[in-house]
């Protein structure tokens, strides 16, 4: 199945990607404006279902890495990931046939679409995280054995750094992060490279569709004055973990990550309880009155209680009235291999066990629906 992305989809996708950012991932607003402009200029973006990608396709993930705070000031040139992609093609001596987002949560949901518009390449309906994560070994491409290299980074001057071979994604994370600082704090990337067959094995399917549907549900609930939070939960397969008011935010810097804690005091049915959320760029653990009720890789999303507008860890502050959504992680993130990389222990919470939230991740539900209709 192939469908064309229009302006309304981009608008909805930006909202869905913001919520799936689980507190981090960068603001999709900037990417949205860029993709919207490219569409208005007559460029087109096509989305392809994973099962319709040919076995021998050459698929590459593209996007941006670096600090969102840099990205809101030194706005992207826009084609940095395309320059990285071209360098990678030159190194491989082959042309790329499909693009795939690395991360559907936050800014990186939009950037592959801009590259697709510029390069006239289709984008696979899926991604490597189903949400946002802080480090690049945390995508399913790396978890399920796709080689991290060759990999390319490009800056605003189209300076290219190519990594022909590194040991693994952890090593690439360290090297690429150091290069990104030298590139002014933000860079475009193209990696990893995989075949169509490999893609189907490792991709979290239908997450572009999920983000679009999530955004559409929220927008239409706002328009019809129904409950946008309930609409978001219905599409994502999540449940309402808590409703309350932020009473404390504590942030600290460690090794390049914004770590911290948000405390909420319950309102409505949650009055008398307190929820504590620990984050490292993204929300990691939710404790209700001291008891762990949700952990990574399940999605803990803070949204404005009335509009379902995502509230990121950078803007969360005293007094905001917030609905905390608990969305079950994609099945691909719940395997033992995945939990070793994205479970609580991987973020330093060795004493916290992962108890999966009930329900089915919205993208997995879409995949099941698709396969039921095709069989």
């Amino acid at each position: 199945m192939v469908w064309e992305l229009d302006e309304a989809c981009v608008e909805a996708l930006a909202i869905g990607a913001g919520i799936l950012g689980t507190g981090g991932g960068g603001n999709p607003y900037y990417g949205k404006l860029y993709v919207r402009r490219l569409l208005r200029e007559g460029r087109r973006v096509y989305i392809v279902a994973p099962e319709d990608v040919p076995d021998d396709a050459l698929v590459v993930s593209v996007g941006g890495m670096g600090a969102p705070t840099i990205g809101i000031e030194r706005i992207h040139r826009g084609d940095e990931p395309l320059a990285a992609l071209r360098a990678l093609e030159q190194y491989l001596g082959q042309s790329v046939t499909h693009l795939v987002p690395g991360e559907i949560g936050g800014a990186n949901a939009l950037r592959p679409l801009a590259v697709a518009a510029l390069a006239e390449l289709p984008v696979v309906d899926g991604d490597g995280m189903g949400r946002a994560f802080p480090e690049l070994q945390m995508d399913t491409f790396a978890i399920y054995g796709i080689s991290a290299t060759p990999a390319a980074l490009a800056d605003i001057e189209h300076n290219i750094v190519l990594f022909p071979r590194l040991r693994d994604a952890y090593t690439l994370e360290r090297y690429a992060r150091a290069v990104t600082v030298q590139m002014g704090g933000a860079a475009g990337f193209a990696f990893p490279v995989m075949s169509g067959t490999e893609l189907r094995r490792v991709v979290i399917p239908y997450t572009i569709s999920l983000a679009v549907q999530l955004g559409e549900a929220v927008l239409s609930a706002r328009k019809e004055h129904t409950d946008p939070v309930a609409a978001a939960l219905a599409v994502t397969g999540g449940s309402l973990l808590f409703y309350g008011k932020v009473i404390d935010v504590e942030r600290r810097l460690s090794a390049g990550f914004a770590r911290g804690t948000v405390r909420l005091e319950g309102l409505g049915e949650d009055r008398g309880s307190e929820l504590q959320i620990e984050f490292q760029n993204e929300n990691l653990i939710a404790r209700r009155d001291g008891q762990v009720i949700a952990t990574v890789p399940d999605l803990i999303c803070l949204v404005d209680q009335e509009t379902a507008e995502p509230v990121t860890t950078e803007v969360v502050r005293y007094g905001l009235r917030i609905a905390v959504l608990g969305i079950p992680a994609p099945a691909m993130l719940r395997t033992p291999e995945a939990l070793a990389v994205v479970g609580p222990a991987a973020f330093g919470y060795r004493d916290v066990a992962y108890h999966p939230l009930p329900g089915t991740y919205g993208g997995d539900r879409l995949a099941a629906e698709r396969s039921a209709t095709t069989q």
Binding site: Y30, T69, I70, R74, P134, R177, G185, L253
Partner: protein
């Protein structure tokens, strides 16, 4: 020495004379289309009331929504040039990309992105292109453009490129007024550039308006310096305001809350402004309104102004009461209260009628509500009290009871004992809280920068930022002895291992000689 505070709102122009925090006189007059006549009338009124010579007034502080309204109504805007320095970066989103078409058409004579700007670590993104700037100057002269906005990447931290381009264009384009973005905004290029572009479009209007303000005052024999209120509740000189009118945006609600703080003598409290149709609530923290955390949209344009975090509910003096008293509002008789409420001889049961029946207030004719069933009055009061208590609770930043300051025409609705409130305070002169907020305003200095903690300690970086903010406050007119740091925000730069941190510091102090 006394201070004169003036608030020019959409409906009323208020004036208040203040001597060391004490209200000597106040007046409320309709705002006039030319603005000046309304100011003259209100100021004449207060000067007539007080045994005070104009020469005894040390400073005049004016808050106005005039420039916000010009943007919202798309009137009196000048066509300007919007210049961004950032090539080869930033091209993915050109200037004014997300503006409403009608406003962009009204304002943008020319938009351009040129080389320049800096990286977060202080390196140049690219050097300025003097050839391109010469051509730009030529183009501006040819088109007769007389106002421009310049925005360079990371100018809040490193202003050199913005300054150099402003200087060059001012020297080469006769009559050109240049707005530098770093004077207006914080980090966040698009929002700062938007604010700078709005400002450039307002400069010719601001020059005319500020001149008219000054002429009106001097006709009254007032020679004291004129200051205008900014959105953060502090002051700028009239000369600066003529160049940076956009900084007056959102000063109204800020002044009102600052006024409530001074009138009550409290610096940490909840403020409820009860009107005819709605009640607006906000929180005072250290004497200043708590700011909203989301980008503020003005006239359809995203800016990085911080607005007071105000929550409105549909409950006011004119709110209609349901048959059994279980609902009060959001429907309201609004300004027709004085003819439609029962106590004023009308036929609609309003929240004010309930307040009179319950003896919370005495106005109108109480005999007209004497027939109301006790149960109905009791239920309606309970509904009102519960909605107010919920509003107070939603505004609180800490558990526990807090003082609640009540202002506005519908303030009789608020009971003396409100759940969640440690006390309910009804300051005198609450009707002119805006003008009082303007009169007591201080001056501020602010810095916003990203610093690397490689090669310096966090303490040293913070100390340098604090000192620079204090210096900026003194440069803006503050008495050095009174300057203190009121806000310090330290935000780690996520996803970068370079130990970079964004530091934002605001210092305020009393006006020198005020």
């Amino acid at each position: 020495m006394a201070r004169l505070g003036i608030d020019v709102g959409g409906t009323n122009t208020d004036a208040v004379l203040l001597d060391r925090g004490e209200v000597l006189a106040w007046a409320k007059h309709p705002t006039t289309p030319d603005v000046s006549s309304g100011i003259l009338a209100a100021v004449r009124d207060v000067l007539g009331q007080a045994p005070l010579a104009p020469s005894e007034i040390s400073a005049v502080m004016l808050g106005t929504t005039h420039f916000t309204n010009a943007v919202v109504q798309r009137r009196d805007l000048a066509r300007s040039a919007v210049i961004r320095l950032g090539l080869p970066a930033t091209t993915s989103i050109p200037p004014l990309e997300d503006w409403p078409d009608d406003l962009r058409d009204a304002v943008a004579e020319l938009t351009v992105i040129l080389p320049g700007g800096h990286q977060f670590d202080g390196r140049e993104i690219s050097p300025l292109d003097w050839q391109a700037l010469k051509q730009l100057a030529e183009e501006l002269r040819r088109r007769g453009v007389d106002t421009a906005a310049v925005t360079a990447v990371f100018s809040p931290a490193i202003p050199t490129h913005e300054n150099a381009v402003a200087e060059f264009l001012t020297a080469h384009v006769p009559g050109l007024r240049v707005t530098c973005s770093r004077e207006i905004g914080r980090i966040g290029l698009l929002e700062r550039e938007n604010a700078a572009a709005l400002n450039a479009a307002l400069v010719p209007l601001a020059e005319r308006t500020v001149r008219a303000f000054q002429q009106a005052l001097s006709r009254l024999g007032l020679e004291a310096p004129l200051y205008l209120s900014q959105n953060d509740g502090t002051l700028m000189t009239a000369e600066f305001a003529a160049r940076y009118p956009v900084l007056t945006f959102a000063s109204g609600p800020t002044n009102s809350m600052r006024g409530a703080a001074v009138l009550s003598g409290l610096s940490d409290a909840i403020v409820l402004d009860v009107g005819g149709t709605t009640t607006d609530g906000g929180a005072l923290v250290n004497g200043f309104p708590r700011e909203a955390s989301f980008a503020v949209v003005i006239g359809g344009v995203r800016t990085n102004f911080r607005m007071p975090d105000v929550v409105s509910i549909g409950l006011g003096g004119g709110s209609l009461v349901g048959p059994d008293g279980s609902t009060v509002g959001p429907q309201s008789v609004g300004y027709r209260l004085s003819s439609e409420a029962l106590v004023f001889g009308g036929s609609r049961l309003t929240a004010s009628d309930i307040a009179v029946a319950a003896r919370r207030a005495r106005f109108g004719d109480p005999s007209r509500v004497a027939h109301l069933p006790t149960e109905l009055v009791r239920q309606a009061l309970a509904t009102i009290d519960q909605r107010l208590a919920e509003l107070v609770d939603s505004l609180k930043t800490t558990p526990g009871a807090v003082p609640v300051i009540v202002v506005g025409g519908g303030s009789v609705l608020v009971p003396d004992h409100l759940e969640g409130a440690s006390e309910v305070i009804r300051p005198p002169h609450a009707a002119v809280a805006n003008a009082i907020g303007a009169a007591i305003a201080q001056v501020s200095g602010e810095i916003d920068r990203i610093v690397s903690l490689e090669g310096q300690t966090r303490e040293a970086a913070l100390a340098a930022a604090r000192a620079d903010a204090c210096r900026a406050a003194v440069a803006a007119g503050a008495d050095p002895a009174s300057v203190t740091v009121v806000e310090l925000e330290e935000i780690p730069i996520a996803y970068l291992p370079s130990n970079a941190v964004r530091i934002r510091v605001k210092a305020v102090g009393d006006l020198r000689g005020g």
